[in-house]
């Protein structure tokens, strides 16, 4: 069935010059080459004043590169083509020049300095000067004003390290406001936020839109794009595929996905046979974990759960609910202090005091933060692959390097990791492929129980599907999988059972058949109320 391409809500991207008076930005025929890669290939993009324009596409589709051209990170001359902002052609040589005109980009990795205050961060490089040095009164009063615009009540004297990621994201936006932003570019702003904070941020964008600000939003999360965007431009392989009108917020998600991956995904979650054994692979009883620094605070409070062999169990919850802390503390006490409770693996109570103990008892923890906690980015795929169980390719402590490379090749094929060679440094791979290397590292460790913490964070739709398939294969082999995720649809699509956590406690346990997004959110919200009462 061929979709009706000619339907009225599709605008062909090709613009005939600058004939649209209300275009704030028109990019024409942008081509950007990196050594060996054509990152952008004749890209056209037109953004109208006062709209929220979403840019979607797989990792490596060229979204961030395009925005870096726009912001002057890639200076004029390093790309071909031209772009007009407010009808005038721009030739930015650095970020400062684009910021002067009100184009501000907020990168996925926040550029805030943890040891400085909110106010200091906000005016970093743009300090409010007084007669002698910095005018602190003006700095902080202006900071407070911008903070209130983004709905933050924290004092501008608070240090960045003392506020959560969600608030840090808001500080970045306040910082953009302080630069008198006209065109705000957000690169994956919600990738590290929970649903509640994400929603708040998106609503704020809508609020800014009403005040006349234009935003470009890069996102992997299709639901939020559908919710907030007026137009959606789909990019694939360095080119813009099409721009969809989304003014009625009714755009078909599957259509976007199809545009991104260039193929129809019949099912976003691969089907699997459910062969759940009666036996528990992992059981945790009365697990309590205290904060490593503020030891009086209970991060995980008397939690008990079990995972059967061949079962995928989801852990849902807001950020700070204690899911990561629970998983890491079970994984050989890699987090927390004063840990109490029982871990039962295959029916036998075990004492796991180090990560090594956990690995030897068949537990793997696949971290949510692959760059910081998971991979050695400067090392090859082959070396990363064997890291958790190096002894498997060793005899008498001597590494059989040929064997190691062979193993890496096997896993590369098994997980279809895209790389020219297993000697490639992991840092050179895309996010999805890095995640595959991280998974193969832990699969190589031969675990019976896998604790997957946000296994699909920041990776594109195609790679997600592949990761899901790998998970299915693992449970078909009779392994137990715990999946921590902040994306409710993926939990609902993948899990046999879902635990809902809030404030360090399990507040609900739902079977796959009965679970819905509303029920999960409801459980979280109701438990919040009971805390107040």
């Amino acid at each position: 069935m061929s979709t009706t391409i000619a339907s009225s809500n599709i605008i062909k991207v090709k613009q005939e010059g600058v004939n649209l008076a209300d275009s704030i930005l028109v990019m024409e025929n942008i081509t950007k080459l990196f050594p060996g890669v054509r990152a952008l290939d004749d890209v056209n993009l037109s953004v109208e004043r006062g709209e929220i324009h979403a840019l979607v596409g797989e990792n490596g589709a060229g979204k961030s590169t395009l925005m870096n051209v726009l912001s002057g990170t890639h200076p004029y001359g390093s790309y071909e083509g031209k772009f007009m902002y407010n009808g005038k052609e721009c030739k930015f040589h650095n970020v400062r020049e684009s910021e002067k005109l009100g184009i501000v980009i907020i990168h996925q990795e926040l550029a805030l300095i943890p040891e400085l205050s909110i106010g200091e961060n906000m005016f970093l490089g743009n300090e409010r000067r007084g007669l002698f040095g910095i005018n602190w009164n003006e700095t902080y009063s202006q900071a407070a004003k911008h903070l209130s615009n983004v709905g933050l009540k924290d004092s501008p004297l608070t240090l960045i390290k003392d506020i959560g990621t969600g608030k840090q994201q808001l500080v970045e936006i306040a910082k953009a406001l302080s630069k008198n932003v006209k065109l705000l570019i957000l690169d994956e702003p919600t990738s590290s936020l929970n649903e509640e904070d994400s929603r708040m941020l998106l609503d704020m964008l809508i609020e800014f839109k009403k005040q006349g600000m234009t935003s470009i939003l890069i996102s992997h999360k299709i639901s939020e794009v559908a919710y907030v965007a007026d137009k959606i431009t789909i990019m694939r392989d360095g080119a813009t595929i099409e721009t969809l009108d989304n003014s009625d917020h009714q755009v078909d998600e599957d259509r976007i996905i199809k545009g991104m991956v260039g193929r129809e995904l019949t099912d976003r979650y691969p089907a699997r046979e459910h062969n759940i054994s009666e036996e528990n692979g992992l059981e945790v009883q009365n697990w309590t974990v205290h904060h490593p620094v503020y030891t009086e605070k209970r991060v995980v409070n008397n939690v008990s759960f079990h995972v059967r062999k061949g079962e995928i169990v989801g852990f849902s919850g807001l950020q700070g609910a204690g899911r990561t802390e629970l998983a890491m503390s079970v994984f050989g006490k890699s987090y927390g202090a004063n840990i109490s409770g029982t871990v039962i693996v295959n029916g036998n109570p075990v004492k796991l005091s180090t990560a090594r103990d956990a690995i030897e008892n068949g537990i793997a923890y696949v971290t949510e933060d692959r760059k910081d906690n998971g991979l050695v980015l400067g090392d090859s795929i082959a070396k990363n692959n064997t890291m958790a169980r190096l002894e498997k390719v060793c005899s008498y402590g001597i590494i059989d390097i040929n064997r190691e490379n062979q193993v890496a090749e096997e896993y590369k094929d098994k997980l279809s990791t895209k790389t020219p060679s297993v000697q490639q440094n992991v840092g050179n791979l895309s996010g999805g492929n890095q995640q595959k290397v991280l998974l193969s590292k832990w699969m190589f460790a031969d675990p019976e129980i896998l604790l997957l913490d946000e296994p699909t964070r920041g990776i594109d739709v195609g790679a997600k599907y592949e990761i899901y398939s790998i998970m299915n294969k693992l449970v078909e082999e009779g392994k137990s999988v715990v999946m921590i995720s902040s994306e409710l649809p993926e939990l609902l699509g993948m899990c046999d059972r879902i635990y809902v956590m809030n404030e360090g406690e399990i507040v609900a346990e739902l079977k796959a058949e009965e679970a819905t997004q509303e029920k999960i959110m409801g459980a979280i919200l109701r438990s919040d109320k009971s805390h107040i009462a």
Binding site: D372, L377, N428
Partner: protein, 398 residues
């Protein structure tokens, strides 16, 4: 033609990476030729060739240990010059005042060196004292102790056994009686042939198991160059006094460390910790032990170098080993070790150390002021690190 064409494709990034891999080797050759010409060929005299490595024995040995420290995250050990002096002082006093024999002295000294290593490794690995500060403290501590033990005097070493263990030349009766010490050349040829045989066998093994490998041309030209260098070097040694025992000691240490860092799980951990400590910890590796081992081995090698230096000079005073730590650190960075940890190899570090040695010796033979040697060393170090940083940027490594 069983080599893959893939590896030969000309890709700018790959080319740059390869160019970088051999830059220091090329630099070494260029500098060597430069000084050979500048000194009118005097650098090539058998005596000077022999001395080139012997004079730098302490750098070659300690740079091996320093590499382990630097791998863990760009951490250095500042105390090794003082440790070297302390161990040298103990050995000198034991043999001159207490009349200890050579073997008990050596064993006792190495035990003390390990104890110093345990002391530093404990604070750095298990109490998380920053290595820079801990070893800075060690630098003062051990220097002071050495001077106390020496009683602020220069102590001579007269024990012949001790001197023989480190400073004689290999002598085979019948072969080495004439002007040319044939045993040195024979050993050189044996090493070269051994290397060739090893390469043939390991490649045959790879073919059998279907592993990928570099092309025949690359592999065998490498064998040819290295083999020729070894034989040429040994020929020069044969023309002087023969094969020095100290060279064997150096080779022993270098080979052990090259093996550990490239082939063992234990060695791999140093790279992992420097590459990403948190990920290493979560992979079930005890990172405290890795730090501990790095500083322990460093002190052991510093102690061993103390014995080498004491034997070569024949005396120890309170200033022995001053700023030797900087030579070891410099060799590592010139040899391509990353200042942030996680990368660097023993062969690279050896090239760095020899490059420093050639510059030193070339300038001394040429008769340049000692002070200028510092200027040149500093410039070389800076250029090497600048090159490292800039080329990493071009190949896209942050």
């Amino acid at each position: 033609m069983n080599n893959t064409l893939d590896s030969k494709r000309l890709n700018p990034a790959v080319f740059l990476k390869n160019a970088k891999k051999y830059t220091m080797t090329i630099a070494l050759v260029v500098v060597f030729i430069f000084f050979a010409i500048l000194t009118g060929g005097r650098l090539l005299y058998p005596q000077n060739i022999s001395n080139l490595l012997l004079q730098n024995a302490y750098v070659l040995v300690m740079a091996c240990g320093m590499l382990l420290c630097i791998l863990t995250g760009g951490n250095v050990d500042l105390s090794i010059g003082s440790t070297l002096c302390l161990i040298g002082a103990i050995s000198a006093q034991l043999m001159s005042k207490s009349d200890w024999g050579a073997i008990p002295t050596i064993i006792f000294c190495l035990v003390i060196a390990v104890l110093i290593g345990i002391w530093q490794g404990f604070w750095i690995g298990y109490v998380h004292i920053p290595p820079f500060i801990c070893t800075l403290a060690g630098m003062f501590l051990f220097r002071g102790l050495a001077r106390v033990i020496l009683d602020s005097k220069t102590v001579n070493i007269a024990n012949d056994d001790f001197l023989n263990i480190f400073t004689t030349y290999v002598k085979t009766p019948g072969l080495d009686d004439g002007d040319i010490k044939w045993s040195a050349l024979i050993i050189g040829i044996l090493v070269a042939v051994g290397f060739l045989v090893y390469t043939i066998f390991s490649r045959a093994n790879k073919v059998k198991k279907g592993y990928s490998m570099s092309s025949n041309l690359v592999a065998y030209s490498q064998v040819a160059v290295i083999g020729a260098l070894v034989i040429a070097y040994c020929w020069q040694l044969a023309n002087y006094k023969g094969l020095p025992v100290m060279l064997l000691w150096i080779l022993l240490v270098v080979c052990i460390y090259a093996f550990i860092t490239s082939k063992t799980a234990f060695g791999r951990y140093f790279y992992a910790v420097g590459g990403n400590e948190k990920a290493t910890k979560l992979s079930g590796i005890d990172t405290r032990k890795v730090y501990f081992a790095a500083y322990c081995s460093m002190s052991l090698l510093a102690g061993f170098s103390g014995l080498l230096v004491a034997a070569r000079i024949g005396s120890v005073n309170g200033d022995t080993g001053t700023s030797y730590e900087m030579d070891a650190i410099g060799s590592c960075f010139i040899g391509g070790a990353s200042a942030y940890g996680g990368s660097g190899t023993i062969p690279g570090v050896m090239i760095g150390a020899i490059l420093l040695g050639v510059i030193n010796q070339g300038m001394s033979i040429y008769g340049l002021d000692n002070n200028w040697q510092y200027v040149v060393k500093g410039a070389v170090l800076l250029i090497a690190v600048i090159f490292d940083v800039v080329s990493n940027r071009k190949t896209g490594k942050s």
